[in-house]
Amino acid sequence: MSAPLVKLTKKDFVSDQEVRWCPGCADFAILAGVQKLMPELGIAREKTVFISGIGCASRFPYYMNTYGFHGIHGRAPAIATGLKMANPDLTVWVVTGDGDGLSIGGNHLIHALRRNVDLKILLFDNRIYGLTKGQASPTSELGKKTKSSPFGTVDRPFNPLTLALGAGATFVARTTANDMPHMSSVLKRAAAHKGAAFVEIWQNCVVFNDGAFDEWSEKDVRDERLLKLEHGKPLMYGKSKDKGLRIGGGFTLEMGAADGAVVHDESRDNLSLALALAALEPPWPQVMGVLRAVDLPTVDQLAREQEREAEKATRGPATLEALLQSGDTWDVTAGAGDA
């Protein structure tokens, strides 16, 4: 049943469907990045499944020449959980938006993370509802004027990273669609993680929220405003890596010079560093890269192990006959029947 191991290329992962995003949408970049990544993973097309909810982002599966499922709004993590538990051999990606994944689908997302289902979850965060034409999303900044909030939103936004960490995610990262090399490296790390990998991807919606990430993407400022995390390396940023985050008084971080900066450690069981970094808000730099990556058993794996143990522990044959006849049975003998 399994396909011959021919070397695949990016093209092999391009489906025959017309891509229906607006010209200039950052979704194109993510699609290209993922299609490029696929052959590098060495996983057969037929073993790869993309599952999504509803939204512009969620059209993604149609464009991947793999198995795909365009679900209903917010439910992709749940559909993917069922799929992965039913067949752990598959590599399962979830594509979701900030509305799909954090608004209607928030609960499924945090439960998939706490269960550590082996899914690669990509949250395309454009801080707006694209497909429904421009309402506020749970990541829209407080006070933002949108179609549904003409006087500005009154809801404080989620920080997707702290939310994922608080839910117990074993892999949490952030990247941006306009930095292809960074995005590629983060996606690759997510793919390699065994367990629920959560990646927030900043994605510009040219039609309804253009420029949402300009603050961090313009060439002249981005190095000052973004801190790229590297495991085992000190927390440094700035064009010439001259700035760093250090330990301040009473368990706090402090901006300062690069040397003496705290060394980044993705693998800590303790959440505090990852969370401190995730929660930073301007004027602090925004972190990019992998905040947390720890290895813990996945639910799909645990469930299968349990199954094998149950099989082993079975006394007698696990046949359907035996099952039906288990418990107290009695016989009614022929001849006496009247029915």
Binding site: M1, S2, A3, S15, A44, R45, E46, K47, T48, V49, P61, Y62, M64, T66, Y67, G68, F69, H70, G71, I72, R75, A78, I79, T81, G82, L83, K84, M85, A86, N87, D89, L90, N107, H108, H111, Q306, E307, A310, E311, A313, T314, A318, L320, E321, L323, L324, Q325, G327, D328, T329, W330, D331, V332, T333, A334, G335, A336, G337, D338, A339
Partner: protein
């Protein structure tokens, strides 16, 4: 099968109805279950009806906390748990208060005398003491000082006073065993097995049980002991099952026969949770149970599992089913096998969570957005849950469609002897996965209008599905007007054709006559018994009990015209009645009860009789 000898001569009965009632903490469900098992093993036919409150344990001694368990067992076939008990065990005044009105005139009443203190009476809402105010004069009353007698019986068994008092229910069970001449040795073994982790507890319960049995001998004023011979059932191997466990077995059987992994995604809810509990035990059968974060996740995961090539199943009760309706539409659009089980309970909203009702038929047939036809099957008895579940899985896999199974609280918890099916003669189920890339089209249909099931992992069949309208062949998104009309009509036709493959409808009892009773679901037993009784009175009555609620059998109207009138008894306001009128133009008279309880046989029988007499037919028949 031997029955331990009793010194007094037995009085032979054809059947008996016994109800055990007490506080939620008194162990009445266990007592009833034990009695039932013994009756089953003895060879009686039987039907049971457990009835318990929505609270785990409401305040002791109040009517809110009363838990009851009724069994009818007989030397002949039995269809319902009985209208009125012959014997009522009431472990406290509250239980007496709730259940006395049902006891048959002249019936046997076993009371826990020590609990009739003033404070107990007050808590149960008795104004005067029923033991002394004449309330009980029409019954054979056996007052037992359980506390005292049980205390004495278990002395020296090595248990605390509290644990000793907890043996009361086995004392009562022993007494009822004596009354109905049951086998105490088998039960003794069963008790020892149950408490095997604590030999003192086992010993204490056995002693209480035997003491109760022996106590029977000492009661002079009693007609008993009675004896009820085994029923002459169809030969074969039997087992007593509740509806929920039969249903779970039916699902496993279908998955095993189809060679598929069973994936059950569910979120706990009364009275459906036991299906999850039951299935969870059978992990050795390539079976994944997934307790989801909510009902939406449960069905979504089941859909994901079906996409993966498993048999995806989800189960809940009314409020949880409501949450699943959006995703049912997705299953319909993606045309994947999926079985959705609804163990109905009293509604609307949270309603009466532990009571039975049949009021989710509309929801099952009509409760979705868009044109969303989903086959609906209903189980009619605890044992029939097996077959219905099996059939639902078969249709789901055959037709690549979601299928709804309706059960209800009384079936779920009720039990009856089940003639074990021959595994080899169960109908075949063939998932028939697509494997050949040549000419593969995700929505190209076979003669049942089913599309291919092409599962991830299969090289060359990579494709994408989803909830947007899809092209009739490729399955790609299509907004084309005529394609949409075609797809809507095709999906409807696929479901409609299921009716073409059904066996012809053959009414039970009279093939023509005065009244045809059309029922569905858990009313089967009461209707059957009522028809039997009405026919004994000389009426010509037929009975059709619909397993297929949607699509309806093609010949139902034809069959109905062979009778002067059609009666539809339902535990709702007339949902099947509206459904058959709307679908088929078939007129009928409704008999409707919405009390969280099954029909009494008498309610249906008298309605049949009065309908047969009437010139002009009413629309709805009031329960007399």
């Amino acid at each position: 099968m031997t029955v331990s000898a009793a010194p007094r001569p037995h009085i032979d009965l054809q059947n008996a109805v016994v109800r055990f009632a007490g506080d939620s903490g008194d162990g009445m469900q266990l007592t009833g279950t034990e009695f039932t098992r013994e009756a089953a093993l003895y060879g009686n036919d039987l039907a049971t009806f457990p009835d318990y409150p929505a609270e785990i344990r409401a305040p002791a001694g109040t009517t809110a906390g009363v838990s009851g368990y009724q069994i009818q067992f007989a030397a002949h076939e039995v269809y319902s748990a009985g209208d009125q008990p012959d014997t009522l065990v009431a472990m406290n005044p509250a239980a007496l208060k709730v259940h006395l009105p049902d006891l048959k005139r002249g019936g046997l009443l076993i009371l826990n005398e020590a609990t009739f203190k003033q404070s107990d009476l007050d808590r149960a809402g008795w104004k005067t003491n029923p033991l002394t105010d004449g309330t009980l004069e029409n019954y054979q009353v056996i007052k037992v000082d359980f506390e005292h007698l049980v205390g004495k019986a278990v002395e020296g068994a090595g248990v605390s006073a509290k644990d000793a008092s907890r043996c009361k229910n086995f004392y009562a069970l022993g007494l009822v065993f004596w009354i109905y001449s049951r086998d105490i040795e088998r039960e003794e073994q069963a008790i020892r097995e149950r408490f095997k982790k604590s030999p003192p507890l086992a010993e204490a319960n056995v002693r209480a049980f035997k003491a109760g049995y022996n106590y029977g001998e000492t009661i002079e004023a009693l007609d008993a002991p009675y004896s009820i011979q085994p029923a002459r059932l169809k030969p074969g191997k039997y087992r007593n099952v509740t509806g929920n466990s039969a249903l779970a077995l039916g699902l496993i059987a279908a998955a095993q026969k189809a060679g598929l992994r069973l994936f059950y995604g569910s979120y706990p809810i009364t009275p459906a949770s036991d299906i999850l509990h039951e299935l969870s035990k059978y992990r050795r059968f390539q079976l994944t149970t997934f307790q989801a974060e909510d009902e939406i996740a449960a069905i979504s995961a089941a859909i994901g599992a079906s996409f993966a090539g498993a048999l995806g199943i989800t189960g809940s009760s009314g409020p949880g089913i409501a949450l699943k309706t959006e995703a049912m539409g997705l299953a319909l659009m993606t045309e994947l096998p999926l079985v959705i089980i609804n163990v109905q309970r009293g509604g609307p909203s949270t309603g009466l969570p532990t009571k039975t009702e049949q009021s989710d038929l509309f929801q099952a047939v009509y409760g979705r957005n868009g044109e969303c036809p989903i086959p609906v099957l209903a189980a009619r008895s605890p044992a029939d849950c097996f077959e219905t579940a099996y059939e639902a899985c078969r249709i789901a896999i055959d037709c690549r469609t979601p299928v709804i199974v309706l059960s209800d609280g009384s079936l779920a918890n009720g039990s009856e002897p089940w003639l074990l099916p021959d595994v080899n003669s169960l109908p075949k189920i063939e998932p028939d996965f697509a494997t050949d890339p040549a000419g593969f089209m995700p929505y190209k249909r076979d003669e049942k209008l089913a599309r291919p099931w092409a599962i991830p992992g299969t090289p060359g069949l990579e494709h994408r599905i989803g909830g947007l309208e899809k092209d009739a062949l490729t399955g790609n998104i299509s907004y084309d007007a005529h394609n949409h009309e075609k797809m809507v009509r095709t999906r409807a036709e696929k479901v409609r054709r299921i009716a073409d493959r059904l066996d012809p409808t053959e009414p039970f009892f009279d093939p023509e006559g005065e009244v045809l009773v059309i029922g569905w679901g858990g009313t089967y037993g009461s209707i059957t018994q009522a028809v039997i009784e009405a026919r004994q009175g000389g009426l010509k009555v037929g009975h059709v009990h619909l397993r297929h609620v949607f699509p309806l059998p093609n010949d139902l109207t034809d069959v109905a015209t062979r009778y002067r009138t059609v009666l539809v008894p339902e535990l709702n306001m007339g949902q099947l009645r509206l459904h058959i009128r709307g679908q088929l133009g078939l007129e009928s008279v409704g008999l409707n009860k919405i009390q969280g309880k099954p029909f009494h046989v008498a309610e249906i029988r008298s309605t049949i009789e009065s309908l047969a007499r009437r010139k002009h037919l009413p629309a709805e028949q009031e329960i007399a």
